[in-house]
Every structure is written in structure tokens, then in C-alpha cells.
């Protein structure tokens, strides 16, 4: 049975410049589409603009030229507050470096975006957060402070946090960069389950060939351009 492909992300003529110290173009004429339920990886040499692209797509960086449509919403026309709401509800982001709030426990870190969204009562959010931690095999860390866990564990906490609001799209900037192959495998399958359960779209920057090969599609970048869709 062929399912109709539902469009989620549409990027047209995206260009990005940095002006400091001299003007350089880091993204050149980027055009591509993502569909709901797609598992896509982005590969490319260091410095080719992968992180820069993700920051723009995640609505955090608004200093660009071009058009981006997410779930039918034209991002370049939204206010900052509106973008924050979109980010909160529709986008899960895993940073290249795992950023947690140091004063809060692992569990609270995972719950935070859901508490902000306020769609579910607190106890339900807590229950969900523990579920996500279980899926990543770190539930026993729940009550620890974010500063008391290892790098790989932090990265998994950050992944759990990206999943908590069951977003339309999860963007990851080398989310498995700090993980051993067994844990990387766990994360790969976890993402896959998200697709099956919630029809989530995955856009993952990775240097890991094995990881990339198992995704539906690889976007290859070089020097600020997409050279292979």
C-alpha cells in the first residue's frame, strides 16, 4: 500500500552569510523537502555548514535569506515569541554538544520543554519523561544532577528531552557522536520507533557512515551546497 507523502519541511533558495570579520557565504542556494515520517541524515566534511543549516531550520537563527515552511507555517513571517512556541511544540533538537541545565536533575531537564508546553499535567509529564529515560537505558540517573553524569549519558538525556513533546521533527547535530556503537544503535532504533509511533520526521547530522546508511535518505553537503539529495 502506498501512503500519500505528507510534506513537513520545504526549504527554498536558502542562503546564509556571516559578516564577521569579512562577509563569507556558508550556505549556498539550499533547496530540499522533507516528508512526514522520513528518516534523513546529513553528511559532509567538517565546516561545510551542517550545524549552521540546522540552527536555521530549528528557527533559532533567523538571520538568513530564503524561504522555509514547516508544517505549512512560513517561518520567516513569525515573531520571535511565535517561533519559540513552534520550537517548543514541533521541534526536538539534540545539540552537537550536550547541553543540560546544571542545577536541575536529569528528570527535570527532560521534563522542562513539556512543562513549558503545558499540554499535560505534571505527573503525566514525569511519567512520560521516565519512559523516555527507560528507552535510553538511563532511568536510574533520573534523580541525579546534570553535572553528575558522563558525557555519553548527558547526550542520551538530551535525546530524551528532544523526544518529550513528541515533536513533528527531531533535528540532531551528531547526536550519537559521544556514544559507543551499542548505544548509537539504541538511539537509531529509538528514532525509528518514534517514526512508527508518531510519524515523526528525523533530520540527523552525522559522521557515522553505518548510521547514515541505515536511514531512508542521505543529504550530502559540501562547501555550503547540497551536492546529493
Amino acid at each position: 500500500m502506498i501512503m500519500a507523502k505528507e510534506e513537513l519541511l520545504k526549504v527554498r533558495e536558502l542562503n546564509k552569510f556571516f559578516h564577521d570579520p569579512t562577509t563569507i557565504q556558508v550556505l549556498r542556494d539550499i533547496n530540499f523537502d522533507l516528508y512526514k515520517g522520513e528518516y534523513v541524515s546529513i553528511m559532509g566534511k567538517s565546516g561545510c555548514g551542517k550545524s549552521t543549516l540546522l540552527y536555521i531550520l530549528s528557527t533559532m537563527d533567523t538571520d538568513y535569506e530564503g524561504h522555509i515552511k514547516l508544517n505549512g507555517i512560513n517561518l520567516s513571517q513569525q515573531s520571535h515569541n511565535e517561533l519559540a512556541r513552534i520550537r517548543n511544540e514541533y521541534i526536538g533538537f539534540v545539540f552537537q554538544f550536550h547541553y543540560l541545565l546544571p542545577e536541575f536533575s536529569i528528570l527535570e531537564n527532560v521534563m522542562m520543554p513539556a512543562l513549558k508546553l503545558g499540554k499535560y499535567p505534571r505527573d503525566q509529564i514525569e511519567h512520560k519523561a521516565i519512559e523516555k529515560l527507560k528507552l535510553l537505558d538511563i532511568q536510574e540517573l533520573a534523580r541525579k544532577k546534570a553535572t553528575q553524569v558522563s558525557g555519553g549519558q548527558k547526550q542520551r538525556v538530551a535525546i530524551a528531552r528532544a523526544l518529550i513533546n513528541e515533536p513533528l521533527i527531531i533535528m540532531g547535530d551528531e547526536p550519537t557522536g559521544n556514544l559507543d556503537s551499542k548505544n548509537a544503535d539504541t538511539v537509531f532504533h529509538l528514532f525509528k520507533e518514534m517514526i512508527e509511533e508518531f510519524n515523526t520526521t528525523l533530520l540527523i547530522v552525522t559522521h557515522d557512515e553505518d548510521f547514515a546508511k541505515r536511514t531512508d535518505r542521505i543529504i550530502t553537503m559540501s562547501d555550503g551546497r547540497i551536492i546529493n539529495l
Binding site: N81, R87, N88, F104, K116, G118, N165
Partner: protein, 421 residues
């Protein structure tokens, strides 16, 4: 909605930086505490001085005064107008007007039901001599309605022994000036012989002693019932030398004095004219109190501003993460304003408590003065408005101290922070 999370984050930040937070809130504590102590003490003192002067001063006083005759015969001659000629003949002496106020009953009855008036007390002033063997002491016997004087002009505050009621219950009673009693070695229960300028001798029974703190008053003045004073002055029941008005609102005093002069052709002086220097004293004391308190709070505000500014630099990463996970700039701003308010709330409430405690200590500290025989400790005003006002002011100050750093935090670009690592 998400407000609870924002508050929780703010609380966690404040708790994580408890040392700095406590120091910042101590500034507020100090400012508010000083504000409360200063206000309570200063206004208490003002109240005391009000008691000294204002409370026993009538708001409007109607009296009779001997005035120069307004029309000299020469001025009635149109051949010699005053603007062309210097009048040398000014020989008509002041009229020997009755020292009783004309139509005093009319004035009292006309104004008793006036909405502006709290109460009216007529008085009879009679010149007497206190007699002790062959010694005659100059004196002034004031006939009053004791209970009304106590109600309206705090007369009872100056009665040392005995009470205004004792005087009311004894038509032949007298509340003697403490200075007189001392000079003549008289005590309560004794009779004091007196003589009036016409040579008539009479005796009154001492039911109380009176002390104003002003020696020249206490050595002369005594109080009796109106009828007794009228008889001492050799006059009848319609005779009054003074009518004192107490108003609900002192602001009407000037207007009312003018009205009385107009309607009844009497002399009337209002409290503003009688005590012009007093108002200035009070407002300057208030001004100093406010200026000092506000300065202290502003200093406290700078403390909070500093701490929050530092905190925001330390929390750059957290702010970036919050924003990346969907907290908006206004959410971040609110988090930091909550922090400021938390610090303000902590410092402010401790300040209010400390102020209250210190005020109690001052309130119980002994303070004895001749001027106010009934006052034994420092006067302190526990007006709840000081606490409400102080609390509000603490929160407003901390809000503004927190606002600028919070706005800065709300503008932090998360990408810059995340990329910079």
C-alpha cells in the same frame, strides 16, 4: 500555563546562588527596615509634637480683642481726605468693648450641627489672684466644659492627678496649675482661696493638678467649671471670652475663620495663621524621612541589579538551552524578574519584621519629658500603611532593579552561545 515552570527555574537559580542572593536581599532588608523604623519613629514624634501644639490648639478660635478705633472724627470730614493730608488728630481711644463675645450662643448653636465641625467648646477666662496668707499670686482661671475639652483637645493628657470628670462632678472644683500648687504647697483635696480684681473672695476645691510643661503657663493657669469662672469674673451665664472649634478636617479652618468674621463680626483666627511655623517643621521632617528611606532602597536596588547582571553572565548557557527548547525571550525575562522579586520578597519581608521588632524596642524605651506628663516611652506610630507601603516599595524597587538585566537576558541569541562552545 508555563508560569509555574518559570517560577521554579527562578527559584532554583536563586537557591543555587544563595550566598549572593542573601547578600542582595540583605540590602533590601536594610532599606525597608530603616524605612519602617524611621517612619514609625518620625511620625510618632510628629504625633507627639502635634499633641504638644496642634491637639490642644483649636482649629478656629473666636475671641474678642481690643482694637484701635477705626474711624477718627477727622476722617469723616471730606475737606481733609487721608490721601492728601496727614491726620495729626487721632485722639479717640479704643472703645471699651465688652470682652464677652457678642452672640456667642448664636455662634455655638449655628455651628454645632455644621458638617465640618467636630466639636465646639466655649471658655470663660477670668483674671484672679491665688491667695496664701498675705501673698497674692497672679492667676488666670479658665472656665471650661472638662469632658468636651478632654474629648476635643486632649485636656486629660495634661491633668496629672485627678481627671476632667472629677472636675465636672464638683461644681466648686479646680484643676490647679502644677506650678501654683508647688509654690503654695497645696495638694489635691485642699481648698485654694482666691480673689478677683473686683476684690470678691472665694474658694475652690482642688480636684486635680495640671501640667503643660511650659512654666509660664503652669504657674498661672487653672481650670474650673464654666459657671464657677463666670461667677469669678463677676459675670452672668451668657458670658464667654473664647469659643474653640475643632474641625474634622483642618483644611477648612481658614475658610471657616473668615466665615465667622463675616457672619458674626467677631475675631476669628485659624490654626494655620496661629502656628504657621509648625506646618513647615512637620513637612520637613517627613521629607527627610522619605529621602533617607528612598535613598537606602535605591542602594539596595543597585545591589540586586549587580547580582542579577553577574548571574546572567554565568547563566548564558542555561538561557541558550531554555530558548533552544522553546522558552521565548519574554519567558526568560520573566524568569529573571521573578528572581529579582524573590530576592526582594525575602529581603523585604525580613525588613518589615526587623522594622516591626525595632519599632517595638523603641516603643518600650523610656522617654520622660516634662512637656508630656502622660508619656513614659518613645512615641512610635505603628501605622499598617507604613508596612503596606514599604512592602510595595520594596517590590517596585526590586522589579526595576531586575528589569534591565532581565531584558538583557531575554535578548541573548542562543545560536551565538551554542556555536561559541
Amino acid at each position: 500555563m508555563g508560569n509555574k515552570v518559570l517560577f521554579k527555574i527562578a527559584r532554583t537559580h536563586v537557591y543555587a546562588k544563595r550566598k549572593q542572593s542573601v547578600i542582595a536581599s540583605l540590602g533590601v532588608t536594610f532599606g525597608i527596615g530603616t524605612f519602617i523604623i524611621l517612619m514609625s519613629f518620625m511620625t510618632g514624634l510628629n504625633g507627639l509634637l502635634d499633641g504638644l501644639i496642634l491637639n490642644r490648639t483649636p482649629h478656629v478660635r473666636v475671641y474678642n480683642e481690643i482694637q484701635p478705633s477705626e474711624t477718627q472724627p477727622i476722617t469723616t470730614n471730606s475737606e481733609y481726605p487721608n490721601n492728601k493730608f496727614f491726620h495729626k488728630i487721632e485722639s479717640i481711644k479704643p472703645k471699651a468693648a465688652r470682652s464677652s463675645i457678642r452672640n456667642s450662643i448664636g455662634i455655638i448653636e449655628g455651628y454645632e450641627s455644621d458638617k465640618r465641625v467636630k466639636g465646639i467648646t466655649p471658655q470663660v477666662s477670668a483674671r484672679v489672684f491665688y491667695k496664701s496668707g498675705s501673698v497674692l499670686l497672679n492667676g488666670n482661671l479658665l472656665g471650661i466644659n472638662p469632658e468636651e475639652e478632654a474629648r476635643l483637645f486632649n485636656f486629660d493628657d495634661y491633668v496629672l492627678h485627678g481627671s476632667p470628670t472629677d472636675l465636672k462632678n464638683n461644681s466648686n472644683g479646680i484643676i490647679l496649675g502644677a506650678g501654683v500648687a508647688k509654690k503654695l504647697s497645696l495638694e489635691i483635696g485642699d481648698y485654694i482661696p482666691m480673689v478677683n480684681p473686683q476684690g470678691k473672695e472665694f474658694k475652690l476645691k482642688i480636684v486635680g493638678l495640671f501640667q503643660s510643661g511650659l512654666a509660664e503657663v503652669d504657674n498661672i493657669q487653672s481650670y474650673a467649671n464654666i459657671a464657677a469662672a463666670q461667677s469669678a469674673a463677676g459675670e452672668g451665664t451668657g458670658y464667654f471670652t473664647d469659643i474653640h472649634f475643632k474641625l474634622h478636617d483642618i483644611e477648612y479652618a481658614t475658610q471657616m475663620a473668615a466665615e465667622l468674621e463675616d457672619l458674626f463680626g467677631v475675631h476669628a483666627i485659624d490654626i494655620h495663621r496661629a502656628n504657621a511655623q509648625f506646618d513647615t517643621g512637620t513637612s520637613i521632617r517627613n521629607l527627610i524621612t522619605y529621602a533617607v528611606s528612598i535613598t537606602l532602597l535605591i542602594v539596595a536596588g543597585f545591589g540586586i541589579y549587580n547580582i542579577l547582571n553577574m548571574l546572567i553572565y554565568e547563566k548564558m548557557n542555561d538561557i541558550a538551552i531554555l530558548k533552544a527548547t522553546g522558552f521565548s525571550g519574554s519567558d526568560v525575562k520573566r524568569i529573571f524578574i521573578y528572581q529579582a522579586l524573590l530576592i526582594g520578597l525575602m529581603g523585604g519581608s525580613i525588613g518589615l519584621l526587623a522594622g516591626f521588632g525595632m519599632s517595638h524596642v523603641i516603643d518600650n524605651a523610656p522617654f520622660e519629658t516634662e512637656a508630656l506628663p502622660t508619656i513614659k516611652t518613645f512615641p512610635v506610630n505603628f501605622d499598617p500603611w507604613f508596612y503596606i507601603g514599604g512592602g510595595i516599595f520594596a517590590m517596585v524597587t526590586t522589579f526595576f532593579a531586575g528589569y534591565l538585566p532581565a531584558r538583557k537576558a531575554s535578548k541573548i541569541d542562543p545560536v551565538e552561545i551554542l556555536r561559541g562552545q
